[in-house]
């Protein structure tokens, strides 16, 4: 199974409450995905030359203070660190490539979840309510978000296997379904120099789109290639710096439902997750057609 949720807030004043609006959506998908949960939140962009790095430590007793000191000392760079238990968002103007190399060398135990100017990613094992509570999802502010609740069917239950996955800066993807050709896709992409972190089928889909976009496709063309090459069942929800995008496989095997309202656009696997949104009675509620691309911009 698995559940997906997405929320894009059009009403400026409601953007400060995006976390609060989203929380019942994510919790509503607990039965579809009780083993892990994750969230990508797109907030206020950092300065032009700065980047945010979402880092996952795995343990609650990781010494973030010492990490921050080591970072500033050895890279001679300014950094802002916002830790939340086993997770932290590092903001710095230092070159992303150099930061990545430094992290790999000095803190190989840290998992780099995302790099971007707007997007932070949080994901961990546990019920959606536990994960949301761990990282204060309720307090998130921002324009749009992409969330996932996981019921693993094809690979292990670990934080790294949880969604969202990223493919480039301020770009993420969540998936409900399963791909039958993930292994052959992975082998093909590895030959193209694309690096993988897990054996997860969603990561294969994510890297496929990353590869297509690296080859010059825009998102729509990349997804059209996806219809030809991704074999299996999928509803994919993607977040970019200014948009949410949704596709369902040509057989419509996996569900999705959309609510378009003057104040917001909300997407979920099932209506259960949309029922508690404000003024939902006046939203246009519909099911997306298979093999069609839906895009909403902020």
């Amino acid at each position: 199974m698995c559940g997906i949720v997405g929320l894009l807030v059009k009403n400026q004043t409601m953007r400060d409450n995006i976390g609060e609006l989203m929380l019942p959506m994510l919790i509503g998908m607990t039965e579809r995905g009780p083993d892990s949960a994750g969230m990508a939140i797109f907030g206020t962009p950092v300065a032009n030359d700065a980047r945010k790095f979402s880092l996952y430590a795995g343990t609650d007793d990781f010494d973030w203070k010492q990490f921050e000191q080591a970072f500033e000392k050895s890279l001679n760079a300014q950094a802002k660190l916002e830790p939340k238990t086993n997770h932290a968002v590092l903001t710095t103007s230092h070159s992303p490539e150099k930061v990545k190399t430094w992290l790999k060398t000095h803190y190989p135990q840290l998992h780099l979840l995302s790099v971007g100017q707007l997007m932070d990613i949080y994901k961990d094992i546990g019920t959606p309510a536990q994960v949301a509570d761990r990282y204060d999802f309720e307090k998130f502010k921002g324009t749009h978000l992409v969330g996932h609740t996981r019921m693993a069917t094809e690979s292990a239950v670990t934080p790294a296997h949880a969604h969202p996955f990223t493919a480039g800066e301020d770009w993420c993807l969540v998936h409900n379904g399963s791909l039958s050709n993930a292994n052959s896709l992975r082998r093909k992409l590895q030959k193209e120099g694309i690096e993988f972190e897990t054996d997860n089928d969603t990561e294969a889909a994510c890297r496929f789109l990353q590869w297509r976009m690296r080859e010059g496709d825009d998102l729509e063309t990349a997804l059209n290639h996806g219809f030809d090459e991704l074999d299996g069942f999928y509803t994919l929800l993607m977040g970019t710096k200014n948009a949410l995008a949704l596709v369902r496989d040509p057989f419509g095997c996996k569900p999705a439902i959309i609510a378009e309202h003057d104040d917001y656009v909300a997407i979920a696997s099932e209506f259960r997750s949309l029922a508690h949104l404000p003024d939902i009675k006046n939203a246009k509620v519909f099911e997306p057609s298979p093999k069609e691309m839906y895009v909403w911009t902020i």
């Binding site: 057989f251 569900p255 099932e270 209506f271 997750s273 508690h276 509620v285 099911e287 298979p290």
Partner: protein, 230 residues
């Protein structure tokens, strides 16, 4: 007529369904309203007495599944498998229905005012289904008996491997499935269609505006020419 209202925000669905499964003598003739359905699964499944249940909003998966005798009205949309394996009675969805609406339904009438998703009327076994909007791909796959009326369009592979069910489509059919073909509408079929249009609130719609589809019956018996395909 007595009307009893349940609020699913306050009363667990299991208790509501158990109450609706009570002794028919005590339930017959009563009507029930279910408030705040909020997409919950399996609302009003397995009913077997002469009751009218109105669901005031969107229902989740399998709403009114296995229905017998009862009338169930869903004022919003319905999730996957609405009225699946219905035996008799009437299920009326005023919004749209998701995938596999009326799957394997044996009897009774399913009315969907909006569109229906993929695989509507899959393996239909004798029920009547009237869809006011369009239906998705692979609808009426292996439909064995019953009547399936579509006022809008049909997606790909309509009626693939169909047996003896009758399909009536007013709009366009994207493609027909294997062994499904256009039929000439005879007087008996026209009467069935006219009656179903009347029963489902489409009295003004002319039966002549529909094309009938059914089985070419070429898959009924093994053909030695096809031996290589197995």
């Amino acid at each position: 007529m007595d009307n009893i209202s349940f609020d699913l925000d306050k009363k667990p669905l299991r208790e509501v369904n158990q109450l609706l499964h009570g002794d028919a003598a005590g339930l017959n003739g009563k009507s029930f309203t279910i408030e705040n359905p909020n997409g919950a699964h399996s609302i009003a499944v397995g009913l077997k007495s002469d009751v009218h249940v109105t669901i005031k909003g969107h229902a989740g998966y399998y709403a009114a599944g296995m229905n017998q005798i009862a009338k169930v009205t869903i004022e919003g949309s319905a999730g996957s498998g609405v009225a699946e394996n219905m035996m008799s009675g009437v299920v009326h969805v005023k919004g749209f229905a998701s995938n596999a609406a009326g799957a394997t339904a044996n009897g009774g009438l399913l009315i969907i005012d909006g569109d229906a998703g993929l695989r509507c009327a899959i393996a239909l076994k004798g029920a009547d289904i009237v869809v006011g909007g369009s239906v998705g791909s692979f609808s009426a796959f292996m439909a064995q008996a019953g009547n399936f009326v579509i006022l809008g369009d049909a997606g790909e592979g309509l009626g693939d491997s169909i047996y003896e069910a009758k399909i009536f489509v007013r709009g366009k059919v994207k493609s027909l499935g294997a062994d499904c073909e256009v039929k000439t509408m005879d007087a008996e079929s026209k009467k069935i269609l006219t009656d179903l249009l009347a029963k489902s609130g489409h009295v003004d719609v002319k039966p002549e505006s529909f094309t009938q589809y059914g089985s070419a019956r070429t898959l009924y018996h093994f053909h030695v020419d096809n031996a290589g395909a197995y």
